[in-house]
């Protein structure tokens, strides 16, 4: 299905998932404006949000099924601001799926913690909408708008528990540093525009090759600032300082959502920007290489020192950002496939781990230490099993999706000649055994500290479904990753640098040379 994005009907079709989700969010906003008093209202809001997410996912599926693609637009018209390709569809599914699972996890949690704020789900929908725009943005402006929409919603989500001082601290910290990061990003966009006279990713790519801007200082500074901005959002070292505190202070389902969907969306945007706009600029590979190395090492080593489970998982998510950056640094089709695959696997394992943590904690899961899980395997064998699978998958244990994901990243890195990077990744994951395994050790090898130590652990039926789906996914894709890998490969291949200009002027629609000092 070819969509001519210059006419409104096709444009609406291309944006169908976003439109559906916007509609759902607005309807939900209206609903909760009148009904926000009782627990029943909370449940209604959750179900409306859930069905909205499902409807959006179906819309994505419909576009994917009909292999929707944007028609090539002749030069005088400005190229589209939204991509219509498999990468966008897969990324959309990922964020929609994460949001849907988060709804399930939150369903019981909010009631239990007496957080009667149905707006929670509205914010969740808007944040997801922002992520979809980021993942599909074909223009730096679109990506920025999506990022801001997402960020603002998530700032509020982080502080949704107004009775909690740590949550307020987390929200404020996240807001300040997030605003700071947005500033970097915006300045990077401005410089990139200054160098290439374009904000469209494809156009930037074309300008870079045709004008030979690979070494342009302005472009390189812009690129660096963009990387800083995205580095904040994916919590890559050294831009990770906010992550542990914010993850720690936020309500646990929100933390799970932040650690997975926010990160996935930022990675998707980063991947698209680097692949399409800066594919011809070799400088970023070096930067990303170093970012990956530092992130992996620092994330893992600092995680070793953590005593509470939540902070440990926070640093673990920093470390995993490093693994994903390795896939980005590989910069090959195999790297792209590994990138998508790993994001999916990472989402499952992290989300399930946070969901289980949310079930364990009683207002203030901040305090769940690793030893508090002692004896869980005797008392709640299924929960212990699920958490053990998550830990093993995070560790990269064979038989789980985490292993396959790491495997693909290693293959991609090796194939692109980055053997040292692969070796560091393996080393980092060896270090990670030092903090994932004590969790299993506590659950399976230590006796319950006192009777009914886990009596208050409550996951709720929907939370159980979310965890079961994630764990089943981890195990299934650990054994039969083929389908998912095919999907990852086709979607990863959709992001590629624009072909170099073939005929004079054919792809130089806008400005003449501006930059180059």
């Amino acid at each position: 299905m070819s969509l001519d994005l210059s006419n409104y009907r096709d444009l609406a079709l291309a944006l169908l998932p976003e439109l559906v989700l916007t509609l759902a969010a607005v309807v939900l906003l209206l609903v909760v404006a009148w009904r926000h008093q009782t627990r029943a209202d909370l449940r209604v809001a959750a179900w409306v949000a859930w069905w909205g997410l499902v409807a959006a996912a179906v819309a994505v599926w419909w576009l994917w099924w009909n292999t929707a693609r944007a028609a090539v637009i002749p030069p005088p018209v400005h190229p589209p601001m939204i991509a219509v390709d498999d990468f966008r569809f897969v990324a959309d599914w990922l964020v929609l799926g994460t949001a849907a699972l988060t709804v399930f996890v939150s369903f019981d949690y909010l009631e239990r913690e007496s957080l009667l704020v149905p707006e929670y789900y509205v914010l969740l929908l808007f944040a997801t909408l922002g992520m979809m725009l980021m993942a599909g943005g074909e223009d730096l402006m679109m990506i920025f708008l999506g990022l801001e929409l997402m960020s603002v919603a998530v700032y509020v989500l982080a502080g949704i528990n107004r009775r909690s001082a740590p949550a307020a601290e987390a929200a404020l910290k996240y807001f300040l540093l997030g605003a700071f990061a947005s500033g970097f990003l915006l300045y990077g966009i401005a410089l990139a525009y200054g160098a290439t006279a374009a904000t469209n990713l494809t156009l930037i790519g074309v300008q870079v090759t045709t004008l030979g801007l690979q070494k342009s200082t302005m472009l390189l500074i812009g690129l660096g600032l963009l990387l800083v901005g995205f580095g904040f959002k994916v919590a890559a070292v050294p831009f990770h300082m906010w992550a542990p505190d914010v993850y720690d202070g936020s309500p646990t389902p929100v933390t799970g959502y932040m650690a997975t969907a926010v990160k996935a969306a930022a990675f998707a945007a980063l991947f698209r920007v680097l692949g399409e706009a800066f594919g011809a600029v070799p400088a970023w590979r070096e930067i990303v290489w170093w970012l990956a190395v530092i992130t992996m090492l620092v994330g893992n080593v600092v995680a070793l020192a953590q005593r509470t489970l939540k902070r440990m998982l926070a640093y673990s998510s920093v470390a995993h950002a490093g693994y994903v950056l390795v896939a980005v640094a590989a910069g090959t089709p195999a790297g792209a496939a590994a990138f998508v695959f790993y994001l999916v696997a990472y989402t499952f394992m992290t989300l399930a781990a946070f969901a289980l943590l949310a079930a364990k904690g009683r207002d203030g899961e901040r305090d769940v230490r690793i030893d508090d899980l002692a004896g869980l395997a005797q008392r709640r064998p299924w929960l212990a099993f699920a958490l053990a699978v998550c830990m093993l998958s995070l560790l990269g244990f064979p038989g789980t999706a985490g292993f396959i994901g790491k495997w693909y990243i290693l293959v991609a890195a090796t194939q692109s000649g980055q053997v040292p990077l692969a070796a560091i990744l393996v080393l980092a994951s060896v270090i990670s055994a030092g903090y994932y395994l004590p969790v299993i050790m506590a659950m399976y090898m230590k006796p319950e500290p006192f009777e009914q130590a886990h009596g208050g652990m409550r996951l709720g039926p929907l939370g159980s479904i979310a965890v079961a789906v994630s764990v089943a996914g981890l195990l299934f894709f650990g054994v039969r990753p083929n389908r998912l890998l095919d999907l990852a490969r086709t979607s990863g291949a959709a992001v590629r640098p624009a072909p170099a200009a073939t005929s004079g002027g054919g792809a130089r629609p806008t400005a003449p040379k501006l930059a180059g000092n």
Partner: protein, 604 residues
């Protein structure tokens, strides 16, 4: 691939049955942990069936005499671009030996566990873990590529970790488990990085393809292959508790004794030896790495034996003894005597499993005695034993067989295997003195072995009894479910040495064929004739065996002499002639003339 004849198609059942047992017992552990009869039937039954399947498959394999390893592909696991990894099992002489040992010894130890663990509240969980371990171990030895092997490699580590910490009442157990796993992860780092170096150079990870391409993809003796093999060695030292990563094994003795017998003596810890033997082509390409393997092995054999001299805990003596014997195996495979190393692996599995199970029987009796009198003495301390032969006559007699075997007393199995390893080192020592040093260390370790084992036996079974007056009445022999497996292992420890004489397991006949140092042309005028021929043999015969007809065993030819109908696949290899030249012994024919090639020794 030849048509899967005979009962070879049963091969999938060998690992699948223990997995089934794990699922069944796992379900029981979650739902009805008290159903001990069902757990015993499932736990032991799947192992017995698995052993039967292994015997059937190996019998079919031996009768088929395939020229190449049989690879059974089940499904595509990880397709990444041009790299494809399948779930595939591979049967060749090496894995045939291994699956027989693993399933056979496991079945016996499962039977033993029925008696030993009978009163444990975690009975179902124990059998579930044990079944899972066997599944992973079989995956490890049957996998036809590095990644599949790695699945097993990690899996056995996990099960070992879970079983060490099985009795979680004491914190020390959990810490021991964690230590085992973390040390193993250091080893896994080496394995994984080596795997990706191999992938980078050969573009594949299937054993077949890697070993076929290794001689051309790597330059013999250069940095790449040396780094790769040394990293592999790091993985092996972690798994097989060699210097410097040996510290976890003595602590691992915190687990139940049958676990020590199965995982920390007979099977899992030998995985490193198996890996070196499996990658013999790679190690043969790097003389430095091979010498390092042998050096690490010799040093560990001696060093661990000296520690064993001063231990009082009966299981810790055996743990250090295991480390020492594993050192022997490394010395064997490092010397290039892969068959000898593997042979020692097999005999060691018998006598060390017997020693551990026997010590389990002793501990069982001691524990019951102390339990009956509410004493808090240490049931594992040799100083509390003495004179037990009157109370545990069967255990004492059978453990003496194992002691004689491990000490290398002639007709017992250990003599044959140790002799071959030491002989191989000595023979190489004629050209390079370093190997003589290894040989001396091996001899010294053998003497120490005899000493500390005799010490253990005398302290435990002879002299006056030191258990205590009240306790003495409660000392009694274990039930038949525990002594039965001991008796079978006793028989194997006694007579196990003969398996190397006929050709069934790739024994003697084969050993002569593949021992590189024997194949060496004495008149080779270049540099060190030994190394040259040794390296050359494995790296496509460029420099080896250049005038070898008289010094090579019958049937081995340089390339130029290869007849066109010879059964090899790649042309540039020193190869066997067709079956006519070796047909006098059909057993050795398969080894000589099969796929002589890169898989070297083992798939021949």
């Amino acid at each position: 691939m030849p048509p899967p004849g005979f009962r070879l198609d049963l091969l999938w059942a060998v690992p699948a049955l223990p997995l089934l047992g794990f699922v069944g017992n796992g379900m029981l552990a979650l739902t009805r942990p008290k159903a001990k009869t069902a757990v015993s039937i499932i736990g032991v039954g799947v192992l017995v069936l698995s052993f039967a399947a292994a015997v059937a498959a190996v019998a079919g394999f031996v009768r088929l005499h395939p020229a190449a390893p049989l690879v059974f592909r089940y499904w595509e696991w990880m397709p990444v671009g041009d790299l494809r990894v399948d779930y595939a099992l591979e049967l060749d002489y090496l894995s045939a030996v291994m699956i027989l040992v693993v399933t056979g010894v496991s079945a016996l130890i499962h039977v033993f566990s029925v008696g030993y663990m009978g009163e444990d509240p975690g009975y179902a969980r124990y059998f579930a873990y044990l079944n899972l371990f066997v599944f992973f171990m079989l995956t490890l030895v049957l996998g036809s590529s590095f990644p599949v092997m790695f699945v097993g490699w990690e899996g056995v580590g996990l099960c070992s970790y879970l079983l060490i910490g099985f009795w979680f009442n004491e914190k020390i157990n959990a810490d021991a488990g964690l230590k085992a796993f973390v040390v193993n992860r250091i080893g896994d780092f080496g394995f994984l990085v080596a795997m990706f170096l191999i992938f980078r150079h050969t573009g594949s990870l299937d054993f077949d393809a890697v070993f076929a391409q290794a001689p051309t993809a790597f330059t013999a003796g250069d940095a790449a292959i040396t780094a790769t093999t040394l990293l592999l060695l790091l993985g092996c030292t972690g798994k097989s508790a060699q210097i410097p990563l040996y510290t976890w094994l003595p602590d691992a003795m915190q687990g139940p004794t049958p676990v020590s017998a199965l995982i920390h003596a007979a099977t899992m810890v030998t995985a490193g030896v198996y890996l070196v033997a499996r990658c013999n082509v790679l190690f043969a390409l790097s003389p430095l790495s091979s010498a390092t393997v042998a050096g690490v092995g010799a040093l560990t054999a001696l060093f661990a034996a000296t520690i064993a001299l001063k231990q009082w805990d009966i299981k810790r003596v055996l743990a250090y003894s295991t480390i020492s014997q594993l050192g022997y195996m490394f010395l064997g495979v490092g010397t290039g005597a892969y068959a000898a190393g593997l042979f020692h692996l097999v005999t060691h599995a018998f006598f060390k499993a017997l020693l551990f199970l026997g010590s389990g029987s002793v501990i069982h009796a001691m524990h019951h005695a102390y339990h009956a009198t509410h004493s808090h003495e240490d049931a594992q301390d040799l100083r509390n034993m003495g004179g037990l032969r009157h109370h545990l006559p069967w255990t004492a007699g059978l453990m003496w067989i194992a002691t004689l075997a491990i000490a290398g007393i002639p007709p017992f199995s250990g003599f044959f295997s140790k002799d071959e390893i030491l002989g191989a080192a000595f023979a190489r020592g004629t050209a390079e003195p370093i190997w003589l040093a290894y040989w001396v260390m091996g001899i010294a370790a053998a003497l120490l072995t005899a000493f500390y084992m005799t010490r253990l036996m005398l302290y435990a079974f002879h002299g006056p009894n030191r258990t205590g007056e009240a306790e003495r009445a409660h000392l009694h022999e274990a039930p038949w479910s525990m002594t039965g497996p001991l008796a079978v292992l006793g028989l194997l420890s006694f007579a196990g040495g003969v398996i190397n004489v006929p050709a069934l397991f790739g024994g003697h006949a084969f050993f002569r064929c593949s021992g590189r140092w024997r194949c060496r042309p004495e008149s080779n005028g270049r540099s060190s004739s030994l190394r040259c021929s040794w390296r050359g043999w494995a790296s496509s015969g460029r420099c080896g065996c250049s005038s070898p007809r008289r010094s090579c065993p019958r049937g081995w030819h340089p390339r130029s002499g290869a007849s066109p109908e010879s059964s090899g696949r790649s042309g540039t290899w020193t190869r066997c002639t067709t079956r006519s030249s070796c047909s006098r012994s059909s057993g050795s024919r398969a080894r000589c003339c099969g796929r002589r090639s890169m898989r070297g020794s083992w798939t021949a």
